[in-house]
Structure formats: structure tokens, C-alpha cells
Symmetry: none
Subunit: 207 residues, 4 copies
DNA sequence: AATGAATGAGCGTTCATTCAT
DNA sequence: AATGAATGAACGCTCATTCAT
């Protein structure tokens, strides 16, 4: 049997009903992951939480892993949505202000669902990849790469691919760490100092 | 019963024999993690790999989790050892060269056992913390914080705590990503370019 | 988690299927207890004997203990049923004949399933309580207490609670001992002598 | 291998040392049984409690069962000792007072070590037999049988074997129940009432 | 399509017992 | 004789998955 077949939803969400069911199941999985943690999240528990029979669950998702992957994907795209929104607004700004806005947005992205984010990154095997160039950073990277191209004139001469990688990876690491591991860094007055430093890091590097 | 009791080796490694057994078990656990992945690594398999009875395993480690934690600790301290070695040599250097050396060393640290590192970070619940200010970065952070204090005169005025955090987090994210996720970035000629960029990022930020 | 949850059947026997399954499992547990003894009776063996998967067993009973308790309860109620039947008939009789009938019935009650009774009393931890005022005697006690009240006029003046306790405890001990430990006392002609003596013991005490 | 060999102490207690060791182990087993219950009492725990290595334990007792049997035997003989003491004193008394004394003594016997007695009877497989004609009652029975013979003249004509059985079984059941299961029956003023009733039961039966 | 009862491989762990030292 | 490290059979139990209804 095809390994990939075990990791993707079984039906094209062509029908209204299917889509709703998938949504319900992914949502339930996320809730169970948050409430119980990865170890205690089992498919029967998830079917219960979704108010759906275990049989139906397996009609839409071929394995537990597929369910978790769907949660990861959904969470990633929610985070990316936040970023995309800002990038549209920011494209016209000069680097200094653009970077500041993007750093703030990265924080917001991690705040979309920090409880879920923590469970995924800390407890979920293979979902650690979330904050990785293979993970949601891939899309962020593409967006930033395009922005740098656009603003090339303001930058020192550099390998834009590498530069984008460095900006994305370090910003994601720093904002992730602040939101998830050291929330005290983002208390009230601290936010600005933190954002300043990260923005300084990136801006000085680029110019 | 003490929860912590389930996470630490059962016997003090006071005797020659005990220490050897612990070493054998931790080593076997690491090998199984690499060969089989976290999900397929179970205590019976580990005991087999160690050439030891399952009963002996439980005489030294009170749970599977304790075994994995021991592997994590050992791996972390091997990485920290690499860093510490370099830092001693580098303390006397000016920032530019010091940073370059440290970036190179961070790469080396991730190359100590990259297969194990990948399993621990990607598959092992709660070990995601490994590349985190709570994980092995803690020690790296302390070392760097001290270095910055030492070289304060060469730096722009800044909050050294925050600066150390930013240097450590971003350097670890970038070198980790390069070694584990994008090894092509470190092929032959690429290494220097990569090191240059990361060193530039950090150096410009500090000065 | 509720400790009690581990000792009671998991599903209400509301459905036909469930009730059948529970019956099959309790029956199998009793058979295994008799054939193998308590120590060798384990859940996998019981599931085998029941012709049911171990998973199904745990769908209906949350633990081995719960299974054994169910056997005990069923056995107790079978014994009590025997007693209750006789008591209804005997209520109208004067003490002498009533006591004789009850002693005979107590013997019958112990003969309902003496092999199981022996295992439960001799080998099963905490089931020793079976022949105890806390165990099935409780119901017998209630029945007898009511009978004594009814027949108060024929008795010497006495504390009926205490008297009922003494009648029940001693009759149960004597009939249990005879059936389970000294069956030769109940061979053919011996039965009558034995019943006579026990009836004499109780009757003289009461009048 | 001889099954019986697994149930008796390995060495004739010919040497001072051996006897002391056996004593220490039996004592430790009793303490562990009381403190932890039968299920949680394991041989390593017992060796610990005895301050002796597990190897030494197995030098003196061939199995866990042997250890528990030794505890049972010791406990039984302590209870019998109490009875024997009284019987000597009571042999000369007329039935009424003798029975009263013996009932009181039976209570005392159950109070020798009620915690241990409870664990043995309620939790220990096969030790439930303690309060049985095969258990410590056997010796009590012999003593009483002899007493009845001695006092035959005062009794109604009866089968002394059967009578002794009935006296012993019912007295043991009643006193056991009172001490172990319903201690409130023996609170202060209640003791006398209880003793009176049991003595009445037996005396009326015999005369 | 939907249900949920049933399955059973497989896991973590315990503990009576052995045996090299 | 004494030690205690080592053994491994065996057990209770979970949970992803299937399939008859």
C-alpha cells in the first residue's frame, strides 16, 4: 500500500458534508492535543470529542498520523495567513519599518494558538519540524525572498537566497522562543525592547 | 511516589560496574533511537541492543523516559563540551574573529552526532527543548553572556542579557538548520559563505 | 481518576449484546478460577476461555479485579437466591422446623458451586469476605433478622440484632466447613445428624 | 524437584545462627505483610526489611510461599499458645464457667496480632484456611475434644467429635468476626454481652 | 454513509529466582 | 556463608485499526 495514502485525507473535500466532517475532526484533534497532550490523545478520544463514531473518523482520515498532520497543516497555514496579511501592507515600506512590522507579525503568528503550537513543537513527533525551513518557514521564506528582491536596491550586495534564509530562521527562532518559552520577555514594556533588538539584528544585517 | 524518581537513573554510578552498565544502556538507547526512530524504540529492544536483560535495564533506569532523558543529557553535554573548548581559546580574541570561531564551533557541535540530534529534535517528545534556551542553549548562553561582559568595551551599549539571548538563539537556529535540514548549505565552498553570513549577522548586531 | 471505576463493569448491560458478553466473561472467569486457581488466572487466559479478544474483555471490565468481583457478586447472589427461596416458605413455620429448613438450605447454598466457592474463599484475596457479615452473610442476616422479629413471641427476651448475627455467623461457618472442608460429615446418613446438631445449637440458643 | 521442598525452611535450625536468621526473616515477612499487604509484599522488599541480602533469604527459604507459610504457622501457634494456657487453667471448672473463659480466650487469641491476622485471612491466598478445621482450629479442636471427654458426665448424650467440631467452628467464627470485622461489638460494655451470648450458645448446646 | 463492537499486536513493567563473585 | 547484580517469563493493559451490521 502507498505510504502516502496513510497521510492524506481519504476523500477530496468535494462535498459540503465531507468538508464539514474533516473540519470537525481536525478541530477535535487540536482540542484533544491541547487538553490531553500528544501521548494521551488517541483516536477514540478524538472521535468522541468530535461527536463522531470512530468508524467515520477512519472514513475521512486513514490513520492517526494523518489527523495530526492535518492539524499541523492547518496551524501552519493560519500562521502563514497572519504573515501574508502583513507582508502585503509592508511591501511598500522601507526596510527599517518593514522589518519592525514583520517581527511584530511573527510574534502575532506565534500567538494565533500558542497552546497548540507548544504541543505540536514540544510533544508531537515530527511536528518539531514546524519551525523549520521544511515547515511553515518555507512559505515565510518565499514571501521574504520576494520582498528582498523587491528592495534589492536598499541592501548591501548579497546572496538573497542565503540572506532570506538567515532572516527567516533567526526571526522565527527568536519570536518562537519569546512567545513559547520565555513569555516574560514580552510583558508590557518588554515587547518594544525585544522587537527593537530583533529588528536591529535583521536590519543591520541587510543594509 | 516521587514523579522525579521515574526520570533519573536508579543507582548512583558509584561503582565501576554500574557506570559501565549505565553507559551501555544509554549507548544502546541512542543507537536504537537512530536506527528505529523514537516510536519503534521500546525498552525490550533497547535491552536487546545493549545485550542486557530487560530486568537489568529496569534496575538502572526506572522508565523508558528516563533512558531517553539520559541520552538527551549525554548528547547535550557532548555538544556543550565542544563549545566550551572553543570558548576557552576564543576569550582573548576580538569580537570579529571570536564570533567566526564560535559559529564554526556551533556547526561542529551539531555535527557531533547529527543523526541522533535529528531524532531527538524531530521525533522525541519534549526533547524539542534541546535547541531551546531551556535546553542545551542554557549553558551556551551562560558562556556567551560571560564573554560579552568581558568584551563590553567593544560593544555598543546594550542589555547584555537580551543580547546574549539573541546571539545564542539565532546562531543555534541557523547552524542547526544548516547541519540538520539543509546540509547542502555546508557543502565544500558553501561553508565559508554560510559562516560569513552568520558571523556578519551577529557581529553587526553587537558592535 | 475514580478508583471505583476500576472495579465495576464498564458498560451498563443495557443492550442484549453487552449483557451476553458480560455473562460470557464472568462465566469464563469462574471456569478459569476453578480450573487454574486464582494465581494462574490472568486476563489473557480468561479472554481465551471466553473465546473473546483481550480488547473486548477490557471493553467490558476495566481490570482483572473487576472481573473477579463480578464472579463473587454473581456467586453470592446465587447463594442468596437459594436462601431467599426457602425463607419465603419457612416464614410461617415455628422455630424448630424453620431452623432445620434453614440449616438444610444453607448446605444447599454452599453446594450451588462448591468448587468456585472454595477458590473464592481460599485463594482469592479479599474474597475471604464472602463468608463474612460484610459479604453475602449481610443479606442472609437481614432476612434472618426480619424472621426473628416476626417470631419474637417464641423467643426468650434478647437483643435481636446480636442474636441474628450469632445465628447467621455460626450457621454459615458450620455449613461452609462441612461442605467445603469436611464433606465426609455430609455423607449419606451423616447429613441428618449434622443438621440435627446445628439446628439444636441454634434452636436452644433462641428459645 | 520435590514440591514439599519448596515449602519448608532449607536448613534444620540446628545452628544458633540459622535459627536467628529464620526468625529475622519470618518477622520481616510479617511486618511487610502488615505494612504493604500481600500484593505489594515481594521477596526483595522482605530481604530489605530483614536487613539481609536476597541471596541469604533464598538460602533459608526456598520460595516466597515458604516464607508466607512460616508466618502463618508462627501466627497460628501464637494463637494456639494463648488457648492452651487457658485450657490448662480451665480443665477443672464446670462447663458454664469453662465455656465463658474459653470464649474470652478466643477473643484474646484473635487479638494477639489482629493486623497480621486480617492480612492473612483477607489477602493471602490459601491462608484463609487459618480459621478452619484444617487451620489453627485443628489444635483447638483437639484440646476441646479432650475437655469434653473429661466432662462427659455433665453433658447430654452426644457425639463428642461432632460436638467439639460445632463448638470450635462456631466459636472461632463468632470471635473472629467480632475482632476482625465488627470491632464495635467488643467496645467496653459490649464485650460482656457478646461473651454472654456466645457462651449461652455453646453451653445450652452442650448441656 | 455511518456506527461502534471487536480485534490483537505489542508495550512497559514487575518480581521470584539464580548464580558468579 | 553471604552478597546483590542479573535474569527473563509473564502479566495487565492500551489503542490504532477493521469490519459486520
Amino acid at each position: 500500500m502507498d505510504k502516502k495514502a496513510l497521510l492524506t485525507p481519504r476523500k477530496t473535500a468535494s462535498q459540503q458534508r465531507s468538508r464539514a466532517m474533516i473540519e470537525v475532526l481536525v478541530e477535535a484533534t487540536a482540542r484533544v492535543l491541547i487538553k490531553e497532550g500528544f501521548d494521551r490523545a488517541n483516536t477514540n478520544r478524538i472521535a468522541d470529542e468530535a461527536g463522531v463514531s470512530i468508524g467515520s473518523l477512519y472514513q475521512y482520515f486513514p490513520s492517526k498520523e494523518a489527523l495530526v498532520i492535518a492539524v499541523i497543516e492547518r496551524h501552519k497555514s493560519e500562521m502563514v495567513d497572519v504573515l501574508r496579511g502583513t507582508l502585503a501592507k509592508v511591501a511598500a515600506l522601507p526596510i527599517d519599518s518593514a522589518v519592525r512590522e514583520l517581527v511584530k507579525t511573527m510574534i502575532d503568528a506565534h500567538r494565533v494558538n500558542p497552546d497548540l503550537h507548544r504541543v505540536l513543537v514540544e510533544e508531537t513527533p515530527r511536528a518539531g519540524r514546524i519551525g523549520t525551513i521544511d515547515g511553515f518557514d518555507r512559505e515565510f521564506y518565499t514571501l521574504i525572498r520576494a520582498y528582498l528582491e523587491l528592495r534589492k536596491a536598499e541592501l548591501r550586495p548579497m546572496d538573497l537566497d542565503l540572506a532570506a534564509y538567515i532572516c527567516v530562521s533567526s526571526t522565527e527562532a527568536l519570536t518562537h522562543g519569546a512567545v513559547i518559552d520565555s513569555p516574560e520577555r514580552l510583558n508590557d514594556g518588554n515587547v518594544q525592547a525585544f522587537v527593537n533588538e530583533v529588528a536591529t539584528l535583521i536590519t543591520r544585517y541587510l543594509k
